[in-house]
Symmetry: C2
Subunit: 416 residues, 2 copies
């Protein structure tokens, strides 16, 4: 299958992908679109031509600055919409997309926005390699994993208000930190600013309070996935996090890629995860392929320098699957809502070049990370730009997530 | 000052209070109101009489199921509205409230709803007595407080989706628990279900991402306060919470009182808190009275039995003030939004009858809590109803929060 829109230079947005996002052009309001090659299908404009009539999509769901109302129509509708677009974009005969040129917007002319209003954002800790690395560095090299880790996908609630779309700059945060040799904490800009390579599910269906989601039905609830950079201030986190978990070390900003790649587009890339030993409790037992084979990479671009790859790993290294995270999250009756984000936690692989954070790559600041051109890093410096990318390939079928990028700006003068 | 509406039987809703909430009557949609005695001023109906014209409140802010749009107009508007109502409700001459009887709804005819759409909910851990009790029980009796505790108000992010209004029943949650003698966890209904007595601030003004709030301006951002019961499953919490904090042990439900008591109504009850030693860092230093003198009490009503008081404490026992929580939360640039809740964490006092949770009252299940009538509890049993109340008195001026109540229902048959 191929599109009559050329996608050879933009393989992420192939005919097999068709991700959903929110875009705007000069002089127009943010609205829903679907990406193909270097174009965006303007869903609002397409709807106005009347050709989506058979899908029974209310016009007001497309007259919105977020995708929540459209997604809330359910997969029966959004899947049909995506398949209809796929048909029109690949069919060589005349069809509404071919003879309504105005519904195809150039991506280079569009600004991208946060694709959903996020009600709640949950962050998991689902990579065994990451949890082991952190445990070795901060606790006990011989007992790196805590006793609960292999029995449940450990997670915690993050901050929804500070989730921003790719391209948004982040100011280096101030915070309380306690140097190891000091007797009392000091308040100053973070000196151990980090990224975390993650992938987040975007919820597409709610469960009522009190009603858990059966793991066998978990895919019905996951609209799609985005890349997620959970910026972290390691020095603030280290001082504050006992006993209630990370707070100000994490909630000053998290960046998402603007295009939501649907669960259906990713279905071709499902693989099995590693064997879970000890076996999980029945409510976490899953059938079939549970994981995704998606190549992930992270790049740092120093101010005025060239982008250097610092991590290359794969989503299939995760110990816990998306279905397990969803089933565990709701096992106590906790209700999820459309637009909620469930992030994986840092995705690391077993090899040192597969570590998904600078904390691990520099082994807590003890080993320099080589960016080439004679430049090294332990943690992020002002004006560094971090970019994450994700691609999946299966035979002749490929797609990608685009990217999530963000630059670190210096701390603002203190005015709190 | 007194009202021509009799408030002697409902002293919580005196002329000095005038809290804001969302109510509905049979056949009508939820809408904003202000409580006085056994009445509610229907703000939508009052606005339609034209008598609020001088306050420039857009009609659409009152045509809403939540208070966020009204609160977003700012304190200059909502304070004026409250003072205007106070004037009309206390003035004996003819005025719009006296000659428009239809704008006064009987509270007994109204159903109350969640007053705000909560964007993010943060829970602090700001009572030293509570933190010390928990530290003694679970860590080290001689070093109950962790090193960071007196330097910053420890807090974490909670779940916004499962916040419910007073009167909503909560099903006993399932979860993973690990009995001390077992080698592996089991999945079953919680056997250590608890309440937590808390008070939550409702945010009334946002700060942009990256811009901390100066502690001297913190009151500008706090619209008001509600009672908050942060239901907790101690057995689920104990197994899951290391290292990222509480998750499923807390996020199956949190209950709020329906009426938001404004910061201005509470200003008469400000007192100073205890001396903070060691002194706090400059960004947490505050002038004037920082705390509130509010009596708080908790009651348990067994199925078919009488309500028994199990806790009587005071908000003034808190170590950290509301202003300190707000300033710390935003010190890294974290943005707060209108409707966000910042809860205090369990409010305990120094005496055993002042402990704000059953975990402390029963000392981790080792001491029975006497409910009278020969009934005892260690933790909550099915069909128990928990009610929390709050009152403030200063000379002839008094007001209260009404109550937050909720009943525990048995676990639903497992269907996850």
């Amino acid at each position: 299958m191929d599109s009559w829109i050329d996608t050879t230079l933009t393989p992420d947005f192939s005919i097999h992908n068709l991700p959903f996002g929110i875009f705007s052009t000069i002089g127009s309001l943010p609205r829903p679109g679907v990406a193909i090659g270097d174009k965006i299908v303007d869903l609002q404009a397409l709807h106005k031509t009347g050709c989506l009539h058979h899908l029974q999509i209310p016009a007001e769901t497309l007259d919105q600055r977020v995708l929540n109302p459209l997604i809330s129509l359910g997969k029966s509708t959004t899947n049909q919409l995506r398949l209809q677009l796929q048909h029109w974009l690949s069919a060589h005969h005349d069809n509404p997309l071919r003879h309504n040129a105005h519904v195809l917007v150039n991506r280079r002319d569009a600004a991208m926005h946060l694709p959903v209003a996020v009600g709640d954002y949950t962050d998991f800790y689902a990579s065994m390699d990451h949890a082991t690395n952190v445990g070795k560095m901060f606790r006990d090299p011989d007992n790196a994993l805590l006793p609960n880790w292999k029995h449940l996908p450990v997670g915690y609630h993050g901050r929804a208000s500070s989730i921003v779309v790719s391209g948004t700059s982040i100011h280096r945060p101030y915070g309380q930190v306690k140097p190891p040799t000091a007797s009392a904490p000091v308040f100053k800009p973070s000196a151990r600013l980090d990224f975390e390579l993650e992938v987040a599910m975007v919820l597409g269906k709610e469960n009522p309070l009190g009603q858990p989601i059966d793991i066998q039905h978990s895919e019905d609830y996951i609209f799609g996935y985005v890349l997620f950079n959970d910026w972290s201030a390691r020095d603030i986190q280290a001082w504050e996090y006992v006993p209630l978990g990370p707070f100000l070390g994490k909630n000053f900003g998290s960046s998402v890629s603007p295009w939501i790649v649907t669960t259906e587009a990713l279905s071709k890339f499902k693989v099995n995860g590693q064997v879970q030993d000890p076996p999980v409790l029945p409510y976490l037992k899953e059938n079939g392929n549970t994981h995704y084979d998606i190549e992930l990479s992270v790049y740092i671009k120093p101010d005025g320098g060239r982008e250097a790859q610092v991590c290359r790993t794969n989503l299939s290294y995760m110990y816990w699957s998306p279905g397990q995270m969803l089933a565990h999250h709701t096992s106590n009756g906790c209700n999820l809502r459309v637009g909620d984000l469930l992030a994986s936690g840092t995705i690391s692989g077993p090899e040192p070049h597969q570590f998904g954070s600078m904390l691990e790559l520099s082994w807590s600041g003890s080993r320099p990370i080589d960016l080439g051109q004679g430049i090294h890093r332990h943690f992020l410096e002002d004006h560094d730009t971090v970019t994450m990318r994700g691609h999946a390939v299966q035979g002749t079928v490929s797609l990608g997530f685009g990217e999530v990028t963000g630059q670190i700006l210096p701390s603002l003068p203190w005015r709190g």
